[in-house]
């Protein structure tokens, strides 16, 4: 769980940096996207590893949740979870399910057309197409709203998850843990906020 989660945290950062290029420089974004989309190592080694990481993470999440539910068959008549733990920590399965819903939408909306374009229709590589495509996608306000909402749930998931992953692998020390917790908080807020910013940026700039 923790190892797949840490892997996803690194992946998310990489994804964010590439998306951010679309705001900073059209050329840099195009050439990086072209590299990511055509490099054999990325496409045929890293991409399957990523798919496996995501599958592993949420399947283990479901198993964990169902085991933990059966560990308390009779519920309390009165249960004050908020007195001793954060909302995020008690609702990882719900924030996770929302992210899963978004990932399904994202694959259907972006990844499948991309696979179709490249490998089924066999279109010739066009290193300049990516930026325009992104602008076109974010012109749709519904898509922008779905993105924004999903990243709020990702932020909630990571607000608990980031530090939790370190605790799970036993990485805890009075010197470093406060820094890990603080960094995790910033990561959990800034990265999703950045994704939201990029979506809104293209929505506002691509519409005219």
């Amino acid at each position: 769980m923790a190892l797949s989660a840490l892997f996803l945290i690194v992946f998310l950062l990489q994804h964010f940096i590439i998306n951010l290029m679309s705001v900073i420089s059209e050329d840099a974004f195009n050439s990086t996207s072209h590299f990511m989309g055509t490099n054999g190592l990325i496409q045929f080694v890293m991409q399957p590893i990523l798919m496996f990481g995501i599958l592993f993470h949420f399947i283990m999440g479901f198993i964990l949740e169902s085991k933990n539910r059966s560990a308390r068959p009779e519920k309390y008549a009165m249960y004050k979870g908020s007195a001793n733990s954060s909302w995020m920590s008690r609702n990882m399965i719900w924030s996770g399910l929302f992210i899963l819903g978004f990932l399904a939408f994202h694959l259907w909306d972006f990844w499948l057309p991309e696979m179709n374009y490249k490998y089924i229709e066999g279109n010739p590589a066009d290193p300049k197409r990516y930026f325009g495509e992104v602008q076109h996608m974010f012109a749709n306000p519904i898509r922008v709203i779905v993105y924004c909402l999903s990243f709020v749930f990702l932020a909630l998931h990571l607000l608990h998850g980031f530090q939790s992953a370190f605790q799970s692998i036993g990485a805890r020390h009075p010197k470093y843990t406060p820094a890990i917790k603080a960094f995790g908080k910033w990561y959990a807020i800034l990265i999703p906020a950045g994704f939201i910013f990029i979506a809104v940026f293209h929505f506002l700039n691509g519409n005219h």
């Binding site: 933990n68 560990a71 308390r72 008549a77 004050k80 001793n84 733990s85 954060s86 805890r172």
Partner: protein, 249 residues
Amino acid sequence: MDLTLKIWRQKNAQAKGKMETYPVKDISEDMSFLEMLDVLNEQLINDGKEPVAFDHDCREGICGMCSLYINGQAHGPDREITTCQLHMRSFKNGDTIVIEPWRAAAFPVIKDLVTDRSAFDRIMNAGGFVSVNTSGNTIDANSIPIPKHDADKAFDAATCIGCGACVASCKNASAMLFTSAKVSQLALLPQGKVEAHERVMNMVHQMDEEGFGNCTNTGACEVECPKGISLENIARMNREYLSASLVSE
């Protein structure tokens, strides 16, 4: 003060229980929570009814027997105390108090508010000890120098009284805080290092066998623990377990 109590009643382990409502009058704010229940039980006995069964022994916060999930929290609203250390001044005249047993598949209800916590004993039997030769030439523990820092941490872990509030409070009914305290108190000391790998593997295995849930680091246990056992112990056990799994055959 006058109170309304909503208490879980269950005849025996097989019976289906339900919440029952009882009024109590003239409760002094200086009473402990258990003394308040004693008053209720006297009243029930006088009325020819079955008194409420609840666990207790020392009544001074050291044995870990008293349990009770009070108004949605283990040992009630106050921090770092057991139920026998909870006083009625934490409540107000006219309050309704909901009292339930610990809820966990691994802690089945025996009667009313009493649960069977022998799962903890079986976790201890699986590895919560140091094997020493007691044939007469045992070495005094104090003859082995131990860094003060480690001795303090081991002592802190050893203050766990096995009450089960960590399991009761955890949304996953996980026993990680208890088990990690027991693993830590021995793993930190030179005498415990010899069997460290076997110990953590066996105790964690037994913990899973008993049907406790898995830790998702919500931290509820640490907040509700009457002895302030730290989550640091869980991280230590995770480390111990990881390294033991890598080398164990």
